[in-house]
């Protein structure tokens, strides 16, 4: 099993969610985060004083899928989350050791 973690632009969230659901994933976790990469922040001005906001709001998606689905998930996210401009985000894929469904106690891929 693999965990696919993607940091994307908030405005792309709905499109990505729809596409992933169509792919057949069973669950998704979304967190609002702040961060920076190559896209630098913007400047805010309050009563004449400048404040650079170094962090930009982003959305982090986490989805755990069977290893054979992982690449398709990655490709789908890349396709739907891309705008072509700096700040589109990144995807990280990592191995998952164990998955448990709390309600039933099932373990392994059937718990996904």
């Amino acid at each position: 099993m693999k965990k696919v973690e993607a940091i994307i632009k908030p405005v792309k969230l709905q499109e990505v969610r729809k596409a992933l659901t169509a792919l057949g994933i069973h669950g998704l976790t979304v967190t609002e985060v702040q961060g920076f990469g190559r896209q630098k922040g913007y400047t805010q001005v309050y009563r004449g004083s400048e404040f650079s906001a170094q962090f930009l709001p982003k959305v982090k998606l986490e989805v755990v899928v069977g290893s054979d689905l992982a690449q398709k998930v990655v490709d789908t996210i890349v396709e739907t989350a891309r705008t072509g401009r700096i700040g589109d985000g990144k995807i990280f894929v990592s191995p998952v050791e164990q998955v448990v469904r709390i309600r039933t106690g099932e373990q392994g891929e059937q718990a996904l």
Partner: protein
């Protein structure tokens, strides 16, 4: 009840209500500009003052400010507990309304003035220190200065100063006390690391709107009658506020590239401050100029802060101190006896330089007295009770450390 005019009385009482609303309005105006962890403490300052000064005024503040004169410096204690102050008009202050109406109208001014100062020490003041300082300040600074300018026998009143609704008594007074507070308390911990960002500007705009609305009571009500002078004050108040909002926005856009919402509401407040002393003495066209000047000058005043390095958290000095001074002096330029026969003609209306001179004397006297006594009181309170919260309390935030409360429990 002889000579009581129903229209005048109704108007003054409603105006008192409008001015009362300015204090919670100020609470929101300031509250939105601090960080979320300090929003309640900032609001609490203003709201608590409403309680504190309302009672203090009735018990002793009013007598000290407006009571029978002692040496042109202060009022006597004959009216403690509002002894002798009742429904019968006081001929010296407001002949057509109950004395109580005049008292309560003035009381709302006594409330908002110390509330203005709280902007200078926001985000780092101990609650107990704040209460102690406020009580002492109300008795030893506000009441005396009020007596000088508006009390019968007051020495500045006797000079013939023109201060219709409190340019000196309220704005310069609080503005310069704020400077003293900023200097004595020192800068906030996060002053240098870019973390001092407003957390809820919509709240600030709401507060500014309530201030603008309440200011109609503040200025027009100061006519103490429902008449042409009140109407004039109302009109110039609105016009100056509007023009200053525009001119601050323009100054900001020229200087920084874009006008901001905070700038627009700050501008409008600057205009309201500047027109305060002038509102019963100048006409609409003069108020356009006063607003325009106030917006630009106060924008500059706020930038001054970083040049000098004092941390006046919410720009009380730049807006109330500088704005009040600007307004008081411009009153000496634009005043017209055609608008108010009780005043003098300003420089542009054939008045002599001495008219402007008297305004300047009032300004300087207020600045010197308020700064000196405020400074002493701050040092005194610091020694006995303590003024500033600890570093850890400042980091945690005052809502939790001073009040065990959280503003937004999401």
């Amino acid at each position: 009840m002889q000579n009581i005019n129903a229209g005048d009385t109704a108007f003054v009482l409603v105006s008192a209500g409008l001015v009362m609303l300015m204090t919670p309005g100020l609470a929101l105006f300031y509250g939105g500009m601090v960080r979320a962890k300090n929003v309640l403490s900032t609001i609490m300052h203003s709201f608590f003052i409403l309680g504190l000064i309302s009672v203090l005024w009735v018990l002793v503040g009013y007598s000290l400010a407006f009571g029978p004169d002692v040496k042109h410096f202060i009022g006597g204690l004959q009216w403690i507990g509002l002894n002798g102050v009742n429904g019968v008009p006081n001929r010296d202050y407001a002949a057509t309304i109950p004395h109580l109406a005049f008292m309560i109208f003035q009381g709302m001014f006594a409330v908002i003035t110390p509330a203005l100062i709280t902007g200078a020490f926001a985000e780092r003041m101990k609650f107990r220190g704040f209460v102690a300082f406020t009580v002492l300040w109300a008795l030893l600074v506000y009441s005396p200065v009020c007596h000088w300018v508006w009390g019968v026998g007051g020495w500045i009143r006797n000079l013939g100063v023109m201060d219709f609704a409190g340019g000196t008594v309220v704005h310069i007074n609080s503005g310069i006390a704020a400077l003293a507070a900023a200097l004595v308390l020192g800068r906030r911990k996060d002053y240098d690391n870019g973390g001092l960002v407003p957390h809820n500007l919509p709240l600030t705009v709401l507060g500014a709107a309530l201030l603008w609305f309440g200011w109609f009571g503040f200025n027009a009500g100061s006519a103490l009658a429902a008449n042409g002078l009140a109407a004039n004050a109302f009109v110039v108040t609105n016009t100056a506020a509007a023009m200053a909002a525009l001119s601050w926005s323009a100054a900001e856009a020229l200087h920084r590239g874009k006008p901001t919402t905070l700038g627009a509401v700050s501008g409008c407040v600057a205009g309201l401050v500047a027109i305060t002393p002038a509102s019963g003495f100048v006409g609409p066209l003069a108020s356009v100029v006063i607003g325009l000047v106030a917006g630009v000058v106060c924008y500059g005043g706020v930038l001054l802060k970083s040049r000098f390095g004092y941390d006046d958290s919410l720009d009380v000095v730049g807006i109330h101190g500088v704005g009040g001074t600007t307004g008081a002096l411009l009153t000496g330029v634009f005043a017209s006896k055609a608008i108010n026969p009780g005043g003098s003609n300003g420089l542009l209306n054939g008045g002599s330089a001495s008219v402007l001179g008297i305004q300047a004397v009032a300004v300087i006297a207020t600045i010197v007295y308020s700064f000196t006594v405020s400074f002493i009181l701050l040092k005194l309170v610091d020694a006995v009770v303590g003024l500033r919260v600890s570093e850890e309390e400042e980091e945690t935030g005052l809502d939790l450390s001073q009040h065990s409360e959280v503003g937004y429990a999401f």
